[in-house]
Every structure is written in structure tokens, then in C-alpha cells.
Amino acid sequence: MNTTLRYGADRVPTADVGGSRAMPLLGFGTHPMRGDQATEAVQAAISVGYRLVDTATRYRNEEAIGAALAQARVPRSELFMTTKMPPDQVGRERLTLEQSLTALGIDYVDLWLIHWPPGGYPGVASWHEFIRAREDGLVRAIGVSNYSIELIDALHEATGVYPAVNQLQWGPGDYDADFAEAMRRRGVVLSAHSPLRSTDLSHPVLVEVARRHDRSVHEIVLAWNLHHKVAVTVKSAHRDRMVQNLSAADVTLTPDEVGKIDELSASGAA
């Protein structure tokens, strides 16, 4: 898969994950919002420029997000919808997908992920069902979440198909160059959820880089992910924070800044 930085009309870089629509590398995460809060937040997120909305069966907010999509003024073709099948639905893959589609009010999702390795197994049988769903046009791209390299290789060995995306907790505190390189070699786009969770946002390195760019540390962490071509989903129910997070796409870090942030995980300082 090619990952290209394309600061065009929507400013957000994208990655080719094999579907008809390139995957925006900066997206809107919806966990743990539900009900009206989720509907209103997604409406606001789309209105300020987010084009990727990330949800999951387990979040129990697909119907609320569907309500937002129904009112969105952005065509479906310009949106990138991600959802995930929880591992306890192994054996009921198609049913789970159909329930997601019904709740979201759409006839395909752009990216469908196995939320965790089922029972710690790679989930080969489920992966076959994912491939079939893609062939049937119900999903445009398929991937996994919280998978190790070994589990991803097991899926490929059994089916010949690598996941397009592996979503996991990923931030400066989790950075592992070898893992990132292993994903890149396999053509798997890394996607970060909770990019701020493992990071010491008061660390002097981050604070200094933020000061230099006149940005918040949050934005610097997001920009650091984008520099590494890592997709990142961020959640906020506040419109001004949504706008601020999105503006991280405009930040260009220097190689020296990126190198210093990379080192935070190795030093255990992040």
C-alpha cells in the first residue's frame, strides 16, 4: 500500500488501503460517546472537516452515528467509515457486519477491522469471512486491531491476504521503530487510537517542540504520527478541540524534532 502526503483541499494526508476511497490519516474517533452526544459530535466533526469516522460494534453508538450520517451534507462517497467486529462475534461475521450497516444506514463500510484477536488466535476463519465481505462489496478494505506481527503473518500465511490496517494504541510512549518498519514492509498501515494516553504531555521535549511551532502538545503528537504516516483517530466532543486537532495536519516537524520524539519511548520518559 502506498501512503502519500497530500495536503490538498482537505489538508489531511491519506493512505491507500486498497479501497475506492483513500483513508484519511487524521480521523474522528467516537469511543465512548453514545446517543445524542455521539450524533452531535459526529455532525460537528464532519462540519469542521473530518472525513473519517471511526466506530465499532462494541462502542454501541453505530445507530447514533448513523443518525449523524443521515443528516450530513457531505456525500457518502467523501466519507470514510470504519467499524470493527468484536472477537466474540466469531462465527457471526456477516450478521455483525449487516447489523453495523443497518445501524449506520449505509450499504458499505470503507474499513472493517477485527477488534481484537479472537481468543488470542489470529482468527483465520473470520479473516476468510472478511475477505468474502470485501469481495461482495460490503466493505472496501479490511484490517485488524491490536494484532502482533506474528498474528498478522499467520493471517497472511493462511489466506495470502495481509490486513490493510492494524489499529492499536500508538503514541510517542509506544513508539517501536522495528514494529513500525515490520508493518510498513508488509504494506500494513498503522492506525493509532488513544495517541495521547501513553504520553507524558508535560515532557520537556514535547513542550519545547510545541512552543517552537506555537502549537499545543496535542497537535505535536498528532503531527508526529502523521509524519510517520500513521493514521490517527482523535475524539473530542468540543468543536474548538476538533478544529485544533484537525489543524495538526498543517504542522510540519523537522527531522530533528521527530528524532527527539522518537527517542522518548526508548528512554521511558514519555
Partner: protein, 342 residues
């Protein structure tokens, strides 16, 4: 003794009597657990054999004895249907009509009437079945979320039990055959009997039976904690194909028993089992293979199919289906394939 039917049972009795009037019968004799529970409402298991007589005039009486013919005779006598013993044909289906004439009572099979009554549901009841089916789905996820080699099967049952109860399910257990017994929300088979632990080689078969408002979810699935070999895969494929044929045969206007034939025609030489049951009233009642009951929209049925794999256990599937104008609507969404975890 004469019994007063519960208010819930009262509505069912009214419908039953309507059917009796249409058929021109004076009394209905019920001996199956499902049939007796249906007309009496919830009742404890009798110590011995039991028979219930429902008369067209309104009486509902039951009798218990150590042998069924005596219990039947006692119930008929109490209902003033006949004074004295009557013959009892052990080859008759469980339920029989009692037609009174100058020559005395004559018995005719009534299993079809009872099955049709137990399977035909109101919209509210179908909604309850759908809710119970959702509980079955809760049980399914509770199983699949934890399955691993070496797991103690009692832990698995406990997980399901907690999940279903937390979601509002009640106690109930339905064995594949015979009267209701036991008390659990899931039946698990396929573990190593010596250690009670799951293995990688033997399929784990589990049937979920959550109860809700007097109706039962009914779902069975089979999982294998490894990659299936050719034998198991073949059994799974054959059972899935035969079960799909069975479900396709469940069309309004067709004979329900055609579903058995559809399954049998597809299953080939495999050692297979197939049961179509009604679920209403908190118990299961099997459709006789000779039944002439016609499938109708509004019926809710439990389907249980399986293929034995010598030395490897079996592959089993189970579903709760509601018949609609377009055919069988699968309420529990249980996978009709061997779920392989590897």
C-alpha cells in the same frame, strides 16, 4: 383433582377449545409435559405419570399415577368423560382426542392440534421470542469471548449463566429429548469428561436456552479450537447445507414435516439428527414425523440439527425461527457452520 387454569393459560385454553369445537371433539387428553404445561400454566414435575383432560364444556382436570394408562383413566373419569378404565395404545402420539359415542370413548391422535397450538404465536409472543433470541446472542458472545484450550467447561457455563442473567434472562434448561429437567442456561458438550476441560481436537457443542416471559430462546452452535480436518469440515458443510435446505422448506402453506425430508435428502450418508420443536410454554414439543401440520405465518419453531463424527463428537446447529410470509426468519442468528478458532 380439578384445577383452575392461570389467566395466561386461560387464553390458551380458549383457543384450544375453539379448535376442539371445530373438530367436533368432546375432550382432549394431554399426556406430554409440554401439552400439560400449556393448558395448566407452570407446574412442578409430577412424581409418576400424569394426564390432563380438557373438556369442551370447560373442565380441566388432571390425574397422576405410577403408570400412564391408569393416570389417563383417572383423568377421564374425573372429567366425567367416561366411567371406568379406557384402553391405552402405547403407539399413539402423546396427545389424543377423545370422541364420545354410545359405544364409549374412542381415541384419535391430536398431536398435530397441540403442536400447531404450541407453535402458533401472537405478535406479542413473537416479540418475546425475539427478545429471548437476543439473550441467546448474549450467551453466544459469552461463550466465544472466552473459549480456549484447557478451559474448564464449568467456567464456561458460569460465564454464560452470569451474562444471560445480567441481561435479564431466567432459569431454564431444555434437553434435546424428553421432559424438561436440570437447571442451566447452557448445555455444553465436547469437553474431556475426565478433566472437564476443552481440548483442541473435539468440537465444543453448546446449546443456549435463555427464558424470557415464558418463551425460550433456542440456539446451538459448534466451535473447534483448532483448524478442522477434512472429516469435521465435511460434516460441518453437510450439516450446514442440510439445515439450510430445512429452513428453506419452512414456507407458509407447506407441510412442516417437509422440513425433515429436506434435511434428510441433503444430509446423505452422514449419521444425522434433526428435530423441529415448538418452544411455547417453557418447554419443547417435537413435531411428529407423520405430522400433517401446515406451516403458517406466525409460527415460532426451534430447529436442532447435527451430524455425528465417530471419534470426534459431532457438529450441531440450533436456531429459533419465526415463520413469516416469505419463509423462516432466523431470530438467533446462530452460525450454521463449524466455527474454527485458529
Amino acid at each position: 383433582m380439578a384445577r383452575t387454569a392461570t389467566s395466561q393459560a386461560g387464553a390458551r385454553l380458549d383457543r384450544l377449545r375453539e379448535q376442539m369445537h371445530k373438530a367436533g371433539f368432546a375432550a382432549l387428553l394431554l399426556t406430554s409435559t409440554g401439552g400439560r404445561q400449556h393448558v395448566l400454566g407452570s407446574l412442578p414435575e409430577p412424581i409418576g405419570e400424569a394426564a390432563v383432560v380438557v373438556t369442551a364444556e370447560g373442565a380441566v382436570v388432571d390425574a397422576v399415577d405410577c403408570d400412564l394408562p391408569t393416570a389417563i383413566a383417572g383423568a377421564l373419569r374425573k372429567a366425567d368423560v367416561v366411567d371406568g378404565a379406557v384402553g391405552y395404545d402405547v403407539d399413539l402420539p402423546w396427545e389424543v382426542f377423545c370422541q364420545i359415542s354410545s359405544a364409549g370413548p374412542s381415541l384419535r391422535p391430536a398431536a398435530d392440534l397441540v403442536f400447531a397450538e404450541l407453535a402458533s404465536c401472537t405478535d406479542a409472543e413473537i416479540a418475546s421470542f425475539a427478545a429471548a433470541a437476543e439473550l441467546a446472542a448474549v450467551g453466544y458472545t459469552a461463550v466465544m469471548d472466552h473459549l480456549h484450550v484447557g478451559m474448564d467447561v464449568r467456567e464456561l457455563s458460569g460465564n454464560v449463566d452470569r451474562s444471560i442473567r445480567r441481561a435479564g434472562g431466567l432459569l431454564g434448561w431444555y434437553p434435546p429429548d424428553g421432559p424438561a429437567a436440570g437447571s442451566d442456561l447452557v448445555t455444553v458438550r465436547g469437553h474431556d469428561p475426565a478433566t472437564a476441560r476443552l481440548t483442541a481436537e473435539t468440537p465444543v457443542r453448546y446449546a443456549l436456552h435463555p427464558l424470557l416471559d415464558g418463551v425460550a430462546g433456542y440456539a446451538a452452535a459448534t466451535a473447534l479450537l483448532s483448524k478442522a480436518d477434512g472429516t469435521l469440515r465435511a460434516a460441518s458443510d453437510a450439516c450446514a447445507a442440510a439445515t439450510s435446505s430445512l429452513l428453506t422448506a419452512l414456507k407458509p402453506g407447506a407441510l412442516l414435516r417437509d422440513a425433515y425430508d429436506a434435511f434428510g435428502n441433503e444430509v446423505g450418508a452422514h449419521l444425522a439428527t434433526c428435530r423441529v420443536v415448538s418452544l411455547r410454554g417453557g418447554t419443547t414439543q417435537a413435531l411428529p414425523r407423520s405430522s400433517a401440520v401446515v406451516a403458517q405465518s406466525g409460527m415460532v419453531l426451534g430447529i436442532r440439527t447435527g451430524i455425528a463424527v465417530p471419534g470426534r463428537g459431532a457438529v450441531e446447529f440450533g436456531e429459533t425461527v419465526a415463520l413469516t410470509g416469505s419463509g423462516a426468519d432466523l431470530l438467533t442468528g446462530t452460525p450454521l457452520r463449524l466455527v474454527e478458532l485458529y
